[in-house]
Amino acid sequence: MIKFAPQLINLFATLILLLSFAMISQRRIVSLINLFMIQGAALVAASFLLGYVTHQPDLYVSGALTLVLKVMLIPWMLYRMIAKLNVRWDVESLFNVPTTMLVGIGLVIFSFSLALPISRLSDSLAGGSLGIALACVFLSFMMMITRSKAVPQVIGFLSMENGLIFAATTVTNGMPMIVEFGIALDVLVGVLILGVFMFQIREKFDSLDIHNLEALKED
């Protein structure tokens, strides 16, 4: 078990990266939430495994926090939100998926080359995953930029947070507990506030397209 631990963590890292790419090319909002849920589950598995191998009970707590928040509570809130907003079966027209994917590859290469010298210095168990975590952050960031609807943007934001937590977990074996709790609470409050925002946007413009916010006044 211990022998395979670094390989397994690398496997989870790759899975998280794969899911990030799947999110970029996903058009349906429901599937997007499902993908986000699976990504959270992979993150939880990686934290538990790392906690078990390095004998750090902190990581169990961090993993449990992720499990409750990102695999259960936030997806449930998002499901309810899209049901209420009546955008459950919405299909978003993405602009040119192959181009986005190519840019994504560029981001992956960039973050891998950025992380390679750093991970050589690290003596942590899965230092190699830093590049992957960084790539996930960039990819989610790009997703937030390219999407025009509000719900996918929120999911991009949450998935970026997944990438950050993963980077912190694998490279430094977890942040101090107080920081961990703080971030978790921030994310929860963030989702709540963004939910309120979404209802407001919909009420005002009759759609969730945030391009409507670019004009200062109505023509």
Binding site: L15, F112, G128
Partner: protein, 316 residues
């Protein structure tokens, strides 16, 4: 080149030729079951081939010699391809003839000839099918190459037998890059074998067809050879997948006993693979033809990321 080597080579070829229609029948049977239909018998493809070989062959009036030649050439390509993929044993005398790159070339050669033959007659359907086949092909080939390169990077060789030998006899290790390559390979093989998200193998005379449009003008023994070649292609792709991602149970050189065990192992793995293929086909809907580049582009990018992950994480 030992006598055993020649024997295992012949055995691999005969196995491929005989098992390929069975695999097609197996996949069709499972697909019918999953869709709540009564399935055709497992031996239906053999009956079909038998029937077609007995019939008189009709060729269009304006067909050139290329049209007559193409089925034999395509069948030859597919037979050679399935002979050089290590299915039962890695001791294959033919294997130095073509490495992973030449294997992709063999598939490309077959594709060029089937497209030329389809355009040769000059019917609208043939030309349409040929153009679509090329559209799928030019995106699928680089993706397949990248998948094979992923395995090559791990094993440091492009020879298929060397890849399988290294993968099968190493210490058990988890390669994250192979996960990405596996997803990419699944997508490519669905597209290359004219399976559901890209093409529907059941349709006939529909505007969406690709593979059926290419062989519309063929009859009797030519058609039989092409159908057999299509089965061989499916068999070859399944075997590449098994060789790269589930390489256990393949016999080495000078191990006659392992060769005996390799056959049931192969049949078992193919049966599982066929079931999985039928499930994928039943679960997914056919996509629009203009979504295909997106689908295959994703496969290509996944394979490239597999290569990159391999560089970043190293082996093991």
């Amino acid at each position: 080149m030992s006598a055993l080597g020649i024997f295992s080579q012949l055995l691999a070829l005969v196995t491929a030729l005989l098992l390929a229609p069975l695999l097609t029948g197996w996949v069709n049977q499972w697909r019918a079951w999953l869709q709540n239909k009564s399935a055709p018998g497992l031996l239906q493809p053999y009956r079909m081939l038998h029937k077609l070989f007995k019939k008189e062959s009709l060729v269009a009036e304006h067909a050139s010699s290329l049209f007559r030649m193409a089925p034999y050439l395509i069948f030859g390509c597919m037979a050679l391809a399935s002979a050089i993929i290590p299915t039962l044993s890695t001791d294959l005398p033919l294997s130095p003839a073509a490495d992973a790159i030449a294997l992709v070339g063999l598939f490309a050669l077959a594709r060029v000839f089937i497209s030329l033959a389809a355009m040769d007659i000059g019917t609208a359907f043939g030309t349409l099918g040929a153009r679509r086949e090329m559209l799928v092909g030019f995106l699928a080939e680089p993706a397949l190459l990248m998948v094979l390169f992923c395995a090559s990077m791990i094993t440091k060789s492009t020879s298929l037998t060397a890849i399988v030998e290294t993968l099968a006899h190493r210490e058990l290790a988890i390669y994250p890059s192979l996960l990405l390559a596996g997803v990419a390979f699944t997508m490519v093989s669905l597209a290359e074998n004219a399976r559901v998200p890209v093409d529907n193998p059941d349709t006939h005379l529909e505007l969406t067809m690709i593979h059926e449009a290419l062989i519309l003008e063929y009859s009797a023994r030519h058609l039989a050879l092409l159908e057999w070649a299509a089965s061989l292609k499916l068999f070859a792709y399944s075997c590449i997948g098994l060789a790269l991602f589930f390489p256990w149970g393949v016999a080495e050189a000078n191990a006659p006993l392992a060769l005996v065990l390799a056959l049931p192992m192969l049949v078992f793995k193919l049966a599982m693979g066929g079931m999985a293929l039928a499930m994928v086909e039943t679960a997914s809907a056919k996509m629009r033809i203009f979504r295909v580049p997106e689908f295959l582009g994703t496969a290509f990018l996944l394979a490239v990321i597999g290569l990159l992950v391999n560089v970043l994480l190293g082996v093991g």
